[in-house]
Amino acid sequence: MSDAFEWLYSDVVKEHFTNPKNVFDPDEKFEADAEGIVGNIKCGDQMMFLLKIENETIKDVRWKTYGCASAIASTSMLSEVIKGLSLREAYGIKPADIARRLGGLPENKIHCSVLGDKALRAAIDSWLEKQGRKGEFKGEDAVVVCTCLNITDKDIEEAVKSGARTWEQLQEATKIGTVCGGCKGRAEELLHEFAHIYGD
């Protein structure tokens, strides 16, 4: 009967939600080289990424989340996409790429889907740090603005480039400031700076 009505999300989302790929199984022995965890239950979602890394390449991946259907589906998709990618390539994947592969997400669900790639980047960052290469992919001058979610000024710049103009839109795009909120002041300054640079 569900065919007769459109589900809230696309068929691809539904498939990844009901049969998510690469979910961490507590009974499985998965020896991770890197781990990243972001988000906070206070905001309703949290994500963990585990990576197996060989020759700067992602060999295998597992993840866990406390999150909604969008978060589960986008992370499942992300985990499929990054297998076999170099760390640098994986680091560059944008939430919008994942949303596209999922056949789109409702506007107000985009922010639920950004947690996966944040956790992935946190995992890669932690691995780089262990190798004594801290912050290598962040770009020389990227500065972390939101420490809770590991969001940098570059991330804010990207969000503004893709249209974010208000604090709410910036939050939609990056989830910035949704944990302790301590970064709001600095983030708003940057938002206005970049909005000035990129027009409107």
Partner: protein
């Protein structure tokens, strides 16, 4: 069990009672304007007055003239707050001699429906002192706080103009002690309003013994059509129109009568009153079957709301470790329709304001599911939910970063 369709979202809205539906179909042809003087108009008018009497009986109002038809709960609530705006703003006290001086303070609760919360916030924006009373862990209004706020010596904002407390909460089903609240409010000289949208048809309502000045009803929660509701206004209480225009409803609510909606409302109210005892006992037994079954089959669950002072049809449960929207959509795929207090389902970053007000914390609020049962719910429906729900929670918990063993257990 075979897949089936189980609607457990009756607090959101209800299907038409078959008898309401039959009557409305028969009435579809009655098109006369109930304000017209000719025979067809008078006939339409008589039917409206019959419906008004049925609605009055449902809430124990001796005089049907105290019942005004509106477009629903939101409009009724806004009409009350709009009236308070007029009274407080202009100091218009003619109909309310006891309210000498300019009272402006509004006391309501943190767990009201958004239409009350936002109407109250608007008064706050206009400079009225507005207080949102807290509730205890079961969702009951804090009486010590109410008494303090009613006492100008012990609180700010001067004497109270209005106390507005819902009779039953839509999310957790907790019942408030309206008679006791009304007694305190009246003793302090305030008007009393209760939003009985969720209480109607589920528990007995009696405006006389409750002692309220205003009471809100919405028809689509009692197996009648949507877009029709009522506001009870005690004869001694002032009322100002929200919608100005013609003389319908004694000038309190302009607009050509929604005959069909009103007829449907009358029938629905008549049936709700007649079926109340059998409905309440049947639905309460099903709710208990669901509650006991969930607690027995699923570890670490937390039942929200009050254990006994609760609507017979409403069960709100938190499943720590599993996120509400993911639970809701998983149930939806099984044909089971519920609602959640998770932020993700509302598209905002905030979880249910009601659960947060009870102090359960964001973990439990994000993982909450409201099952609201109705007159068509069967034992087989409940058993089907009890079969399909546990594996869903187990699956989501297994992939969760948050442990299922939060301190909260039943």
């Amino acid at each position: 069990m075979d897949r089936r369709f189980v609607y457990l979202d009756y607090n959101a809205t209800t299907p038409l009672h078959p008898e309401v539906k039959a009557e409305m179909i028969a009435d579809l042809e009655l098109y006369a304007n109930a304000s017209s003087m000719h025979e067809a108009g008078r006939r339409a008018r008589a039917r409206i007055e019959k419906a008004r009497s049925s609605v009055a009986r449902l809430i124990g109002a001796p005089d049907p003239a105290c019942v005004y038809f509106t477009s629903g709960g939101s409009e009724s609530n806004n009409t009350v707050f709009g009236t308070m705006y007029d009274l407080g703003r202009r100091g218009r006290v003619d109909e309310a001699k006891s309210h000498a001086g300019r009272r402006q303070k509004i006391i309501t609760t943190a767990i009201e429906h958004p239409c009350v919360l936002n109407a109250a916030r608007r008064l706050a924006d206009e400079g009225f002192p507005v207080v949102f009373l807290g509730v205890d862990a079961q969702g009951r209004v804090d009486f010590a706080e109410l008494e303090r706020e009613l006492d100008p010596e012990r609180s700010r904002g001067g004497p109270a103009l209005l106390v507005s407390v819902m009779a039953a909460n839509n999310e957790i089903g907790t019942l408030e002690d309206i008679p006791a609240i009304a007694r305190l409010a009246k003793a302090a000289g305030a008007f009393v309003h209760t939003d009985a949208t969720q209480a109607a048809g589920k528990i007995p309502i009696d405006v006389e013994s409750w002692g309220v000045d205003y009471l809100t009803l919405s028809c689509h929660k009692i197996y009648g059509p949507k877009g029709i509701g009522a506001l009870y206004v005690r004869k001694t209480a002032p009322i100002e129109p929200l919608i100005r225009g013609g003389h319908q409803e004694k000038g309190v609510r302009a607009g050509t009568y929604n005959n069909l909606g009103i007829y449907g409302f009358g029938k629905a109210a008549e049936l709700a009153l007649a079926e109340l005892p059998s409905y309440a006992s049947r639905v309460a037994a099903l709710r208990e079957r669901l509650r006991a079954g969930i607690v027995e089959r699923i570890p670490s669950v937390h039942v929200n709301g009050h254990p006994t002072k609760v609507l017979p049809n409403t069960l709100n449960v938190s499943f720590p470790g599993a996120e509400g929207e993911a639970i809701l959509l998983s149930l939806d795929l099984e044909g089971i329709e519920v609602s959640t207090g998770s932020a993700c389902a509302s598209g905002s970053l905030e979880p249910s304001h009601v659960l947060m007000a009870t102090g359960v914390g964001p973990e439990l609020a994000h993982g909450s599911i409201r099952f609201s049962l109705g007159r068509d719910t069967t034992e087989a429906d409940i058993d089907y939910v009890l079969e399909r729900l546990p594996p869903i929670i187990a699956r989501l918990r297994r992939m969760s970063t948050v442990p299922a063993s939060l301190s909260a257990t039943t």
